[in-house]
């Protein structure tokens, strides 16, 4: 009986995954195209929300630079569990064309491993939608997010905060 009831939560979550819109690269345009009427992701229950506090998953759109990494990790830190990571674009994979640049984080999959990764430069909305449906399955089966299991993001965030204590004094910051 109890397990059935818990299943209900997975089903409910999977049918209304909300996203925090975290844009850092040019792939975020295709996410906006998804919001439009032509690809219409709301028919599957996806929705952008303004605050990470309400979000179920975060989208890494393209590259992550060093300066933006603490912002990303803090945004992720503020999300309630269970939380999932969705990454699109070659830059999120290995830095893409900037793989030897000194100011781009090339090991994002180690720091914050995505649960679903969609390739492309940028991927088409159809491909992103396919990936999102894949993630719906993961939420449905209540698999643990990969970032919680094997990511090193907690240590990295701690290091970043030690390096730059001003970050933690932001009005909306709650450490975790």
């Amino acid at each position: 009986m109890l397990t059935k009831f818990l299943d209900f939560f997975g089903w409910a979550r999977a049918n209304s995954p909300w996203m925090v819109h975290y844009c850092s690269g040019c792939c975020s345009l295709e996410i906006l195209a998804l919001m439009g009427p032509r690809f219409d992701w709301e028919r599957y229950g996806f929705m952008p929300v303004p605050s990470p506090r309400q979000a179920d998953f975060i989208v890494i759109t393209g590259l992550i630079s060093r300066k933006v990494l603490p912002v990303l990790l803090m945004t992720y830190d503020q999300m309630p569990k269970p939380r999932y990571v969705f990454a699109i674009g070659s830059c999120a994979f290995d830095g893409g064309p900037y793989y030897d640049s000194t100011s781009v984080v090339t090991n994002v999959p180690e720091i914050l491993p995505p649960d679903v990764f969609v390739a492309g430069c940028p991927p088409t909305p159809e491909a992103i939608l396919e990936g999102l449906l894949e993630m719906k399955k993961i939420i449905r089966e209540k698999r643990e997010a990969r970032a919680e299991r094997e990511g090193t993001w907690k240590e990295i965030l701690k290091q970043e905060l030690e390096k730059n204590p001003l970050l933690s004094q932001q009005p909306f910051f709650v450490g975790g």
Partner: protein, 136 residues
């Protein structure tokens, strides 16, 4: 405001703009790279021109000339520069498919980092083998 309201009313009764699931892609899409080994001359021009380094050749241990082609669809930016750089037309072809979404089980990045390491190491072994062959 009234005009917009009229448009909205009209939209209620017109055909939806949303593409239904499983709509076919336009034919001209630039997608994955396909490799046909029969005509390859192993000049490695594609490896040199690729901006993100999504094409890597590893070297066989026995020192033969047939290099092994590796291609990472998740790193590729689909610019098509390798196809244009290829001196033998037909060896590399750009098709319309895209890479399927990768989940945690696939771990494409870990495998790829191994290939990158292997390319450096196997080159040394290959050169050694070549030298031995030549000395014979």
């Amino acid at each position: 405001m009234f005009k917009m309201f009229l448009f909205s009313l009209k939209n209620l009764f017109s055909k939806p703009a949303t593409l239904p699931e499983g709509t076919e892609k336009p034919k001209q899409y630039r997608g994955l790279i396909k490799y046909y080994e029969e005509t390859c001359i192993y000049c490695k021009k594609c490896e040199m021109v690729c901006p993100p380094g999504a094409i890597i050749f590893t070297y066989p241990e026995d020192g033969s000339k047939r290099l092994i082609f590796h291609y990472n669809p998740y790193l590729c930016i689909y610019c098509g520069e390798c196809v244009r750089a290829c001196p033998k037309p037909g060896t590399l072809v750009q098709v319309e498919d895209t890479a399927p979404p990768a989940t945690a089980q696939d771990k494409p990045n870990d495998l790829w980092f191994e290939v990158e390491k292997e390319a450096v190491e196997s080159k040394k072994i290959w050169q050694e083998a070549r030298r031995k062959k030549r000395n014979k």
